[in-house]
Amino acid sequence: MWTIIPALILAGVAVPTTAAIFELTECGADAIEVEVIGHQWWFEYHYPDADVYTANVMVIPTDQEVCAKLTSDDVIHNFWVPQLNGKRYLIPGQTTELRLQADEPGEYWGHCAEFCGLSHSLMRARVQALEPAEYQAWLEGQQAPVTLPAEGTPEYDGYQVFLNKGCIQCHTVRFDQEEQSNIVPPEAFNGPELTHFASRNVFVGATLPEEGESRAEALKRWLADPPTIKPGSYMPNLALTEQEIDDLIAWLESNG
């Protein structure tokens, strides 16, 4: 009897378990597809239908199933936004799927859940759920290139820093004057795309800005010495002067 009763309880648990596994795993046919690419230590998001790239903040429409296609650029990561679904690995060379759906607009917090190297702790995620109309507007905004700054402005000086101090090696920016765009080829070392940087409310693996800190303050700390903020950071200390950092921030903040 002491064997049968636990076995029956377990059988009772097993049925809904199995049903839920299938229900939560498979993407529906009308789901929006978003590619999630893991990097040490940030998440990149690619909207293949709109050909939009963004980083750290994943924007999705509410009341709409989203099918995340997960893969990794380096090691195994694990995408987890607890309020939207469970975890799923991002595996280099393979693609996994995860269903996400937000019923309410708002910000959802997440984290990489698989140990992925030195700064695993600082690889966080943010999902922003927008009403469908707002989402559409956001997507169109992201599709548009940004304006090349006019000479003589601080933004222009910042752009010059971007060009001359090494940033262009890793960061893509798409300008309205297409021949000026800096497209980092996929096989090269990639940092987050900066085209609409200012449209994201968090950066650096969704760890900055910290509570009570402005974006500019956080950026200033970060640009002064990335490896102290994110140990092992692939973005090196570029030995920028204070003026250069201020100019760079002015330019980045203008790319809404």
């Binding site: 378990t17 596994i21 975890k87 799923r88 140990f115 030195l118 140990p231 200390n237």
Partner: protein, 676 residues
């Protein structure tokens, strides 16, 4: 038999003969001495692993703490896990098995005494090899953009290269490709892979030894179903080791080949599969969990009947449930990988298989409670630990069932909820069991009894500290605190519970300090135990405390389960146990007989060669790590020569030194069990 004496003696290969001093320990093949050495070494590593845990807890006591660097934190949690599993719980279990198995089955030693010494030395040198990474290892971040852009500041961050961070930092699970050559380019992970390889080899050798011992060396009448449950669980563990260690051995060699010789088993860039590593690792790793817990279950099954003064309830059910847990344990490994994107069918299958483990585990828990039910319970320290074991293990078992519910596991996996779960089964389970065992068999070891007052103080400190440490981890995990995080954000509201956890960890440390004081003082000034301090049931208590080198002067003849108990007790008409009037005389007679063998006793001779053979292996492994240099190649050669020379010496040394005893000695062995 006589051939052994006629073997020509040479002066090169002599058996060592020291009876005391350091050489007697280096060359010993006595299972009791080897058990003691295993025990002390395991305890030392327990302290090291504990210090690592305390450092981790200081770091996590506050949000965004700067106490440790990220590199040091990652290294410490890797070494904490590796140490507690491979260098503490496994060798501590091996210590008990070594010491107790021959005594419990009525044998004079294990089947292969020199092989037993070899296991011990490989373990010790493997542990030293692994820990030498703190001195020699290097752990550097992968080649980053800084190196691409030009000669800019390296991406390590300040302090990342301190000495703590020079140890393995890829996790005890060593997930690929993060701990492969591309993303962990230093030598630290090589120390890890080869060190664990050595430790696994030590366990593999002893598993064969224990199995042969248990199957072949039982005293007359000690049928399989009369063996103490601890012996049974050791048998099951030996089978688990035998079948699971080769898997990890192969997988670790693949890791070493990937790292050292550019093979691409697990590297996606070359078409390798990082998930294959996870399958191999957990195919070993899940049985490993039962390797850690089953010996403690065996100990608890010995302690509970003694202090409940009742036979174990459902002896055969407990034995077969243990075997069933082990069998099922091979079919559930992928529940560690529910987030890895394996198909829903596979997830459902492994989820259901995992649930079935709850059934035999439940049988055991019911039987333990049934053993105590209506018993005349004596709440001694070992009994407190055994009861603590049942309670804590049940909590851990129940949270284990929640992992089998796959959609729930998708939330729990890789959070502190998992950390809470496995500490409830491995600390609340295995470690409580081990401490209970230490208190229970301390008289066997020393002839003294440990101080009860300090023992109870230790139990309550550990029980409170343990729950304060690990219970809040459940809530932290459900609040979203992921594992292996060096920093967490203050916005998440995790600080109060994390502080409580850190306080709890220090209470555990305090309880261990109390234990050490108790051990030290009781060894020196403890009360004399006599032959039978606990009114025990099993035959290891039929030899004096501490046992003479030969264990049994006359190997016992076992007539039933709990043989020793039945020598002392009869049943009255109502089925109650009544102590025989002559019980005390029987005990005195036993002690006298065991201390005064009627004939000289033939024992295996000590040997140098197990130690030397084990010594060559880490030398080869150092050589493999540095094989690109001439020194490395030379070390491989030197190590191989040491080990091979030891093999030759082992094979060629005489089975015994010429001795002065008459030839009939050999017949004593055969005929010794004539009267029990």
């Amino acid at each position: 038999m006589t051939a052994t004496v006629e073997r020509p003696q040479t002066t090169i290969f002599r058996r060592p003969s020291a009876k005391t001093g350091i050489w007697s320990w280096v060359t010993t093949v006595d299972h009791k001495r080897i058990g003691i050495m295993y025990g002390y070494a395991a305890f030392l590593f327990f302290i090291l692993g504990g210090i690592e845990a305390l450092l981790l807890r200081i770091q996590l006591a506050q949000a965004n703490s700067e106490f440790l660097t990220a590199g040091a934190y990652n290294a410490l949690f890797t070494m904490h896990g590796t140490t507690m599993i491979f260098l503490f719980v496994m060798p501590a279990s091996a210590a008990f098995m070594n010491y107790l198995l021959p005594l419990m089955i009525g044998a004079r030693d294990v089947a292969f005494p020199r092989l037993n010494a070899l296991s011990w030395w490989i373990f010790l040198f493997g542990g030293i090899f692994l820990y030498s990474t703190f001195i020699f290892g290097t752990s550097v971040p992968p080649v980053g953009a800084g190196d691409v852009v030009g000669n800019l500041a390296p991406g390590g961050g300040p302090g990342s290269f301190n000495w703590l961070a020079s140890s393995p930092d890829g996790g005890w699970f060593c997930y690929q490709p993060n701990c492969g050559p591309l993303y962990s380019p230093g030598t630290a992970m090589d120390y890890w892979a080869l060190g664990v390889q050595l430790l696994g080899l030590a366990s593999l050798v002893s598993s064969v030894n224990f199995l042969v011992t248990i199957l072949n060396m039982r005293a007359k009448g000690m049928r399989l179903l009369r063996m103490p449950v601890f012996v049974w669980m050791s048998t099951v563990v030996a089978f688990l080791l035998l079948f699971s260690l080769p898997i990890i051995a192969v997988a670790l060699f693949m890791v070493t080949f990937d790292r050292q010789f550019g093979s691409l088993f697990f590297a996606p860039v070359g078409g390798g599969d990082p998930i294959l590593w996870q399958h191999l690792f957990w195919l070993f790793g899940h049985p490993e969990v039962y390797i850690l817990i089953l010996p403690a279950m065996g100990m608890v099954s010995e302690i509970l009947p003694v202090f409940s003064r009742k036979p174990l309830f459902g002896y055969s059910a407990v034995v077969f449930a243990g075997a069933a847990i082990a069998f099922l344990g091979f079919g559930v490994w992928a529940h560690h990988m529910f987030a890895s994107g394996i198909t829903p069918v596979a997830q459902a299958a492994f989820g259901l298989a995992t649930m079935t483990v709850a059934i035999p585990t439940g049988i055991k828990i019911f039987n333990w409670i049934g053993t105590m039910w209506m018993g005349r319970i004596r709440l001694t320290t070992p009994m407190l630990f055994a009861i603590g074991f049942i309670a804590m293990f049940t909590i851990g078992g129940l949270s284990g069932v929640t992992h089998a519910v796959v959609p729930s596991d998708w939330q729990q996996t890789d959070t502190y909820y998992i950390v809470a779960h496995f500490h409830y089964v491995l600390f609340g389970g295995a470690v409580f069991g081990l401490f209970g065992g230490l208190y229970y068999w301390f008289p066997k070891l020393t002839g003294k009894v440990m101080n009860e007052r300090l023992g109870k103080l230790q139990f309550w400190l550990m029980f409170i500290g343990f729950n304060l440490t690990f219970a809040p981890m459940h809530w932290l995990g459900l609040q979203g605190m992921v594992r292996r995080t060096w920093k967490y954000s203050p916005e998440m509201g995790l600080e109060p519970w994390n502080l409580a956890v850190t306080v709890g960890a220090f209470i555990i440390a305090l309880s261990v300090a109390v234990f050490m004081v108790n051990w030290y003082t009781s060894r020196r000034r403890g009360a004399d135990s006599g032959l039978d301090p606990w009114d025990a049931r099993t035959i290891e208590w039929m030899v004096p405390n501490p046992p003479p080198e030969y264990n049994f002067a006359e190997p016992p003849v076992v007539t039933r389960l709990d043989h020793f108990w039945h020598l002392k007790y009869d049943q009255d008409d109502e089925g109650r146990a009544v102590r025989k009037p002559l019980a005390d005389q029987v005990l005195a007679q036993i002690e006298h007989d065991q201390l005064n063998p009627k004939q000289p006793i033939h024992l295996p001779n000590p040997s140098y060669f197990p130690m030397f053979m084990a010594l060559g292996l880490p030398v080869v492994f150092y050589g493999i790590i540095y094989h690109e240099s001439l020194w490395g190649k030379a070390m491989i050669l030197v190590g191989a020569i040491i080990s091979l020379a030891a093999v030759i010496g082992w094979a060629m040394e005489p089975l015994e030194e010429p001795h002065h005893e008459p030839e009939e000695d050999h017949e004593v062995m055969e005929g010794a069990s004539a009267d029990g």
